[in-house]
């Protein structure tokens, strides 16, 4: 079956980081007591009317510009109907025929090669509430509903069916996530549901211009799940076709426990959403001036920044990529480099030491980092001027992270200044050599590894404060020649 081509399109929902909801003034803050952040509008009370959140539209436009979409001068909201108790009005205010923006592109990299994925449309809509069942859904005696999330702004970004493998789909999602996080429009957290992804998967004979029957996959709430679910689904379809089955148009849920997709509903039961223009909201005019003002505030996007980090700072492609995954981390790196002009060393410290200590590499974690860039630069300067060794610096770094203090104060307080006094070190070397005659014999016998042991002993005796280069030099002088 190697003449089959995989075709994947993604629909990504991103919760916008606006302070208030899409159509009312209620707070969007997460974790408040059930229904404490609701009003007649987001509860769907009789007579309540929606009012468009300008800031949500601005976030949508920011994203649209970042992925090269054309922002439509006129766009409007539409009602999408289906009955479910988490949706207070039993219709969702969304956009249908005249979305906010269309016709974008996103460049992704997979296995070292680059591909361009088309973006069909970007539109705004409102989120639904949350049902809380007493026990499992099938047997629950009662259910309650929390409308705190109802009306939180969502941005839906629909790709073209341009992806040809689950790996490409995962790369697309990762790239898109990085962008929305960079733009500050979404926190990108898939586990908490701020970023959600549905996929359409189909197969067709390689080279065919027509699309096969598509299956929609839902419930993939992590990057890992997206890739696994799509891999499973592609295999399932390949096997089904090989066995002469027909693929039916349906929605399937990814079950991460049982590692498979399960049919949810087939097309015969598909909803007729009965879309029609939302009569309570007049069509929105987006003035070109507004769009240009927003364009002017766009930050440097991850792809451009990655290229600049690799080219301008001479970092490896891998390091440049890792440093630009989050805007705050990249900013941290660049701020440090401004104070300490050795980019490769800074990159090593940020990617190895800093990320080891931090709980995550997202913007929130970076913002909460107890070591500001200035302090990291200060630490690196202490290595350069010989005050401390690189090894000592790692201990100092840990103390800095724990206490929030800067390197010079820690070094001064703990008396960590490097021992670079040849006279003092010479005495220590003599003591070490006297204490380990067997090792000295080994060295003389040609066992070069013995030198490392002796250096270690000197460092131990000086509590790690000895200047390693000087120790090596002194040992070279003192050891009998082989």
């Amino acid at each position: 079956m190697n003449d089959l081509e995989t075709v994947i399109g993604l629909e990504v929902h991103a919760q916008l980081l606006t302070r208030s909801k899409m159509f009312c003034g209620c707070s969007t803050a997460f974790g408040a007591a059930p229904n404490s952040q609701t009003c007649p509008v987001c509860q769907g009370m009789p007579g309540a009317l929606p009012v468009i959140n300008r800031s949500a539209v601005e976030f949508g436009i920011r994203t649209a510009l970042a992925v090269g979409c054309r922002v439509n001068e006129h766009h409007r909201f539409a009602r999408k109907h289906y009955y479910y108790p988490d949706m207070p009005k039993n219709f969702q205010i969304s956009q249908y025929e005249e979305p906010l923006a269309e016709h974008g592109v996103l460049d992704i990299e997979v296995g070292g090669s680059s591909r361009t994925i088309g973006i069909q449309r970007l539109h705004l809509e409102e989120d639904v509430g949350k049902l809380i069942h007493e026990g499992p859904l099938e047997t629950a005696q009662s259910s309650t509903v929390d409308f705190n999330r109802a009306g939180v702004p969502l941005m839906e970004i629909v790709s073209r069916p341009d992806m040809r493998s689950p790996a490409e789909a995962a790369a697309y999602l990762r790239t898109l996530r990085t962008i929305v996080v960079y733009l500050g429009v979404c926190d990108g957290n898939m586990e908490e549901g701020s970023l959600r992804c549905d996929a359409n998967v189909s197969l067709r004979p390689a080279g065919s211009p027509e699309l096969g029957v598509k299956v929609e996959i839902k419930n993939m709430n992590s990057f890992r799940n997206v890739q696994h679910a799509l891999e499973y689904e592609v295999k399932r379809q390949v096997r089904a076709l090989a066995e002469g089955e027909k693929i039916v148009q349906e929605t399937r849920l990814w079950d991460p426990e049982r590692v498979r997709t399960v049919s949810m509903r087939s097309k015969e039961y598909a909803h007729d959403y009965r879309y029609f223009p939302e009569p309570d909201l007049p069509p929105l005019q987006v003035e070109a001036r507004w769009v240009e003002a927003i364009r002017a505030t766009l930050p440097e996007l991850p792809a451009a920044r990655r290229r600049r980090f690799a080219g301008g700072y001479g970092l490896s492609a891998y390091d440049a990529d890792r440093l630009t995954q989050g805007r705050a981390l990249a900013d941290y790196f660049e701020t440090t480099v401004r104070e300490y002009d050795k980019p490769k060393i800074v990159a090593n410290w940020v990617l190895n030491e800093l990320l080891r200590e931090m709980p995550a590499d997202d913007d929130r974690a970076v913002a909460a980092c107890p070591i500001p860039p200035r302090n990291l630069a200060g630490l690196l300067r202490l290595i350069d001027d010989g005050t401390i060794s690189g090894k000592m610096a790692k201990d100092v770094f840990e103390t800095m992270y724990r206490t929030g203090q800067d390197a010079p104060s820690i070094v001064a307080r703990e008396g960590l200044t490097q021992v670079a006094d040849a006279g003092e070190l010479r005495r220590v070397v003599d003591q070490v050599l006297a204490a380990h005659p067997k090792v000295v014999e080994d060295w003389r016998g040609g066992k070069k590894a013995a030198l490392g042991f002796l250096v270690g002993q000197v460092m131990k005796a000086t509590l790690g404060r000895a200047n390693p280069a000087l120790v090596n030099q002194l040992l070279g002088e003192k050891l009998p020649k082989g």
């Binding site: 007649p40 009789p46 007579g47 309540a48 909201l281």
Partner: protein
Amino acid sequence: MLTRLTIEDLAARFRRGEATPSQAAAAYLERIEALDGRVNAFLTVTRQAALGQAAEADARFTAGRPLSPLDGIPIALKDLLCTRGIRTTCGSRILETFVPPYDATVMARLRAAGAVLLGKLNMDEFAMGSSTEHSAFFPTRNPWDLDRVPGGSSGGSAAAAAADLAAATLGSDTGGSIRQPAAFCGTVGLKPTYGRVSRYGLIAFASSLDQIGPFAKTVADAALVLGVIAGADPRDSTSVDVPVPDYRAALEGGIAGLRVGIPAEYFIDGIDPEVEAAVKAAIEVLRGLGARPEAVSLPHTRYGLAAYYVIAPAEASSNLARYDGVKYGLRVPGGRDLIEMYGRTRAAGFGTEVKRRVMLGTYALSAGYYDAYYGKAQRVRTLVRRDFQEAFERVDVLAAPTTPGVAFTLGEKTDPLQMYLNDILTIPVNLAGLPGVSVPAGFTTSGLPIGLQLIGRAFDESTVLRAAHAYERATDWHLRKPTLEAPPR
């Protein structure tokens, strides 16, 4: 008798200390107590709250600081306008127990103006109907003949205004629901321009057509109420930020030279000859006041009704989806699952007419039919609007009958289509979003009121009201009152 006085006269007495808001509220409450058993205009009477508000108004007049021309004036609202803490049923079982936690913008503005709320008024369920017989609770009766309907859907509002059960009332007009009952009850009923009055807190029937407006004893009183409730509202994105003129002041100046269009299409076959004669006589009165009547044509009028009965039910099917037993109002227990709970609740909660329109609208919006029905109806709507635009290039207002006939008897119209035809002369105005008023223009030989409809340009309520006021001053139809005090037949 305080209940006979216009708002203007009542307010003058308050200012001069010849009467107090408390006395006025008590007089109206007493009259409601005595007569509403026959009219059935009220669904809820807020007696205690009214007396409390009136006492506060008393103090303001004593201090010489009334809040507005409506301070202390007893009013009542159609029961689809949300009132904080006061049951708001929309004439439906499904909202029989619904107590809104908030005030509609019009209620908030009336409160801020010092008006005293007497209660909530009966209506056709969800404003769907032309007779108030579709109220889930009881029909309202026409004060001029208790065997007849008051019109609808704002039948309670019209009957209350006509029977002096409130100094003024508010209703809503989606396809004629203010003007038609005003004509049937012989009172003034004004539908403002779409967007002139905030719909926030108006329980929606058809969002693109609904508009709130006043019923009053005189055109001047309607102008005063409009002045208080009109104006842009940040909570209603379809309200329009056009300056609100002093409507009372705009009434003066007469209508000499006013160009009055007479649309030929509004004098249809089957029109009641007494209605036609009365309206033609009214046009001659306008001519006598210096206006210049001329014939105009609104050629797409005949398609208006059909377009309306696609658009309004389509929007209604969507607006009414929220009544599902989950959050507020009626929930019928015992369903095995969600779908059964929805089904049982909506089956028991909605009346026949509401179900009919929800089904019509659901069908019209369904996949494959959208373009043929909703799309086409919207194109017709554009043509109807264009008709008016072209006419208003030549004339300042249009004059026509409000309804083809007069109040019919309860139970007379059993065929929904016959009922729908009642609104054939009012619907085009809603489709075009224009202001229209119905003013008393005579009586049939059997003593039933006839309405003259005046229609104006968008946001030009002033001209409509000025023409209506001039006509009212030249006639005495508005001074005639139904005799409810007589024992029932």
